[in-house]
């Protein structure tokens, strides 16, 4: 039976009202067809292309254009974006706020990307912070966080999180003592992101952003633990920490029905354990290695089937 047939049947059985029947029929017959996603796609690609083109133009033509022209152009574009956002912004709310205009989120995103280009250019040309240039990353991340929370923008939040990751990487390795400890830096970043997301969620400040924080922190922490536990010289405690983190991620994912986290936990945990277990026999016994993959793969599949049947049924 076709969808239209089902609608007719539900109408006759009074499962849906006449109004609902008409509205749903219009959707099924494509008498009402939304291009919301396509138009958003055009805006996102457009803004990304503009920002990329601006950065490329500055890089290629700064000598012929001159500092003043570049600074005035970038500042004008930034000011235009800022003016648009200030003029159209709705009052701040701790909860989810709908975008005031169709292109608002993308104008804000463009403004943030242009801001990054301008800061980079200023530092390159005028060396204001010189060796402490990483503070630009920290300041940028702070500006993006403020903008993301003020205007409820996930694209800018992601930009803030990736810029903060850059600052962590640069700053912590500059401290010298931590030089080379990239796993610990990633771990610290993941922990900081999880902590910030959790605290903001507890304070009910844009609680719908929590999932973005958790995706980023889960991947950062698990990746760091996998990398650290795979070092030939690493202590067994790193593997135990990885297994604990994986188990926690899986448990939270199942409990909250966020199955992406279940897969993160399973994948990172499997890679960590496999690398550790197989290192002594790798290149020595192909049979053992292959048998391990068959048996361990079967165990993981069985566990995932169990989770799928009990919790993840669609």
């Amino acid at each position: 039976m076709t969808t239209e047939g089902y609608l007719e049947e539900w109408r006759h059985e009074d499962l849906i009202t006449a109004g609902q029947h008409a509205a749903l029929l219009a959707l099924v017959r494509r008498q009402r067809f939304s291009v919301f996603l396509e138009l958003n796609g055009l805006l996102y690609v457009g803004v990304a292309a503009i920002a990329g083109g601006v950065a490329w133009t500055v890089r290629e033509h700064f000598a012929s254009l001159g500092d003043a022209v570049i600074l005035v152009s970038l500042t004008s574009l930034l000011a235009a974006c800022g003016w648009y956002c200030a003029a159209h912004a709705t009052p701040y709310s701790r909860d989810r706020v709908a975008s005031p205009t169709f292109s608002f989120d993308y104008v804000l995103y463009l403004g943030c990307l242009v801001f990054a280009s301008e800061l980079t250019f200023i530092e390159y040309r005028f060396h204001l912070l010189d060796i402490d240039w990483n503070y630009y990353l920290l300041v940028s991340a702070a500006v993006y966080f403020v903008a993301a929370y003020r205007f409820d923008n996930r694209f800018v939040l992601s930009l803030a999180l990736s810029t903060l990751a850059g600052w962590f990487g640069v700053r912590l390795s500059l401290w010298g003592l931590l030089y080379g400890y990239i796993h610990e830096v990633t771990l610290a970043y993941g922990g900081a992101v999880a902590l910030a997301g959790g605290l903001l969620y507890r304070e009910r400040i844009k609680p719908h952003f929590l999932e973005t924080y958790l995706h980023v922190s889960a991947n950062a922490i698990l990746f760091a633990l996998v990398s650290r536990s795979n070092d030939a010289s690493s202590h067994l405690l790193w593997l135990i920490a990885l297994l604990a983190a994986s188990a926690l991620t899986i448990e939270r994912g199942i409990r909250l029905h966020r199955f992406a986290f279940v897969v993160y936990g399973v994948l990172y945990g499997y890679v960590g354990v496999t690398t550790r277990l197989l290192r002594p026999v790798l290149f020595r016994s192909e049979t053992v290695v292959l048998a391990y993959f068959v048996l361990s793969g079967a165990a993981v599949v069985a566990a995932l089937v169990l989770v799928a049947r009990r919790f993840g049924r669609e």
């Binding site: 099924v28 939304s34 083109g53 992601s158």
Partner: protein, 389 residues
């Protein structure tokens, strides 16, 4: 070809998805959705998309390791033994997919999908093992031809749309191994995609958006993209070295016209039929045409090209959105810029979250070389003598 699932079951699965979308959009209340769901629910076992991906991945690991284990344990080598082992493993994989569906009624559950996909790969490897040392002419094309047929069979048998897309990709590779002249090869491959497009479109128009029409719509859009891919001889110039040297002049300029006509034609058809997969593909192809226009005409790329491109997209989206919003009831000819389904918002959220991983390089705007200082080389003062002095 008979499928392990009844058409009625697959239709119900699709309708169930619609009902959930409608409930999330507030078009049905929770009790109505629950009542309808209980009526149309099937005994097919489905699972969450992430668990499905995880199950598929680990099933593929098991399949690959099992075949490897057989080779290592029995010391299999030699052309015939290798071919037979791969073929036997492929049969086992297909049988496993059939068994899982028949015994457990799994539907897009990851495991049976990975088994079927492994069967295709193993059949291709079997053909490769057989033809590798055979000395047959065009022997490299045979494994891909076998993989094409196997993928197409998997699509027909199990209904996995991506198997149809894989069949098309394998077909394109098989044709590229025929050692034809560039122009001929492009014409033949584009022609094959065009034929698939025509067949899939006819099937889509016959069935509409209901199953299996929704699957044909995806196949049709993919074939349309494949046709463009082989018509546009400058496509890979955008990301790699120039690749249009060996096509004849008439084809070069005909294909240039084609790169404009195909997206425009696709957009017109998609808008007229409100065909979302074709609309999305045509938009992407239009981007590709704009990106390859300068390479086609032999014009140098400028750093501000992306800015113009971006402005064009932003202006187009804004104008279309405003035009639609000003229509009666916020729509024109049935098109609306308003969000109807929450899944559109889900997509945007996913892209926004995933954009953490995009490179946001703060060094992108860093000038590539330092500007010459006006004080260097005595250009200022001292009579303005140049650096050479």
């Amino acid at each position: 070809m008979t499928r392990p699932y009844r058409v009625e079951e697959e239709q119900r699965v699709r309708v169930l998805d619609h009902v959930r979308d409608w409930a999330r959009a507030g078009l049905l209340d929770a009790s109505q959705a629950a009542a309808i769901e209980s009526r149309i629910r099937t005994d097919l076992r489905r699972t969450n998309v992430f668990l499905r991906a995880g199950l598929a991945l680990f099933t593929a690991v098991i399949a690959a390791a099992s075949v490897g284990l057989v080779f290592v344990s029995f010391g299999i080598s030699g052309r015939l033994a290798t071919t037979l082992t791969f073929s036997g493993a492929a049969v086992v994989c297909f049988a496993a997919a059939e068994y899982l569906i028949a015994a457990f009624r799994v539907y897009r559950h990851g495991i049976e999908e990975a088994c079927a996909a492994a069967g295709v790969v193993l059949l291709g490897l079997s053909a490769a093992a057989w033809t590798e040392t055979s000395g047959l002419p065009m022997s490299n094309a045979v494994p891909f031809a076998i993989a094409t047929l196997a993928s197409f069979w998997v699509y027909r048998r199990f209904g996995f749309v991506y198997a149809a897309l894989a069949a098309m990709a394998c077909m394109a590779v098989a044709l590229s191994e025929l050692r034809l002249a560039q122009t001929t090869q492009r014409l033949v491959t584009a022609g094959a995609f065009a034929a698939i497009y025509v067949v899939a479109r006819a099937a889509y128009l016959r069935h509409g958006d209901d199953f299996p029409g929704d699957d044909y719509a995806l196949v049709q859009a993919a074939a349309f993209a494949g046709m463009y891919l082989f018509i546009n001889v400058r496509l890979f110039d955008v990301i790699g070295p120039a690749g249009a040297k060996s096509v004849v002049t008439w084809f070069y300029w005909t294909s240039y016209a084609g790169t404009w006509l195909i997206p425009v034609g696709g957009l017109l058809l998609a808008i007229r039929g409100k065909d979302r997969p074709l609309l999305t593909v045509s938009l992407v192809l239009a981007f590709a045409t704009l990106a390859t226009n300068k390479p086609y005409l032999g014009l140098p790329r400028e750093s501000w090209d992306p800015i113009l491109f971006g402005v064009l997209l932003v202006v187009t989206a804004t104008v279309v959105r405003r035009w639609l919003a000003r229509g009666p009831g916020g729509q024109r000819a049935g098109f609306t810029a308003e969000k109807i389904f929450e899944r559109d918002r889900d997509w945007l959220r996913t892209v926004a979250t995933a954009s953490v991983a995009w490179p946001h390089d703060m060094g992108a705007a860093r000038p590539s070389e330092p500007a010459p200082s006006p004080f260097e080389g005595g250009r200022s003062g001292g009579g303005g003598g140049g650096a050479q002095y």
